[in-house]
Amino acid sequence: MDGSAGIPEWVMWVGAAIGSMLGALVIRLGWKSAGGEKSGPSDGKTFTLDAALVDSGAVRLLTAAIEAHTMEAVAHRSEAEKARQIGYRMVEAVNSCAGEIEELRREIGDLSREIARSK
């Protein structure tokens, strides 16, 4: 075998190109494995968020729960407003009664003074 050129130079160039592509592929694999799948698959039903897998059913359940909670909060707020208005009216009524009693007391006083004068 002595005297031959070994392997042709173009084989080395092809080897270098294949090696570089293999290197790029390995980097891509490592990069993707560390960062997780960032975009959802083509079915559009599931996607991975870092390590957690979230499917569309779980998202629907969560949405329904949030909606129910919001409705309940609105109903509670309406009830609380009604109670506040009733309380306000009661305070108004009690104030009015106090005024009436005050007036009666004054009239009774006037009447008793008149009776005393007529005697």
């Binding site: 075998m1 031959s4 080395m12 390995v26």
Partner: protein, 139 residues
Amino acid sequence: MITGRIVERFRERVSEWFCAGYLFIWGASLLHPSAAFSAPGYAFFRKFGENDVGWTLAGIGLLWLLGLIVNGSRQKATSTIRLCCGVVGSVTFGLFGMGFVGSYYITGILSAGLGLNFLLSLLALYCLYWIAVDKRTNG
């Protein structure tokens, strides 16, 4: 403190240190005045020149080692250098493996360097995977 961080990360980067160190020492050995390429196993490499090959290998190895030393203490600083040196190192080992195949075709003598360099190329690819993971995770 810097040495402590390098030692701490050395355990997970030991194969990378080995590849870088091997490239550097091999290149430095070729720079020695003795005619290493006169050995039959290096017959294919004679046309590239011992001095040029030595400087190339030692340069890549030294850069990779520096990247590891700095990156061991400053995580985000030199990960790109390590990544580039990983690619170059892997390709270099693969090409050397092919070169030993060429030497076999010239002299008919099969060198142990043939299998060793292809294995080192695979080891450098393995390092490259974890460098990419490290770069993505820590910057």
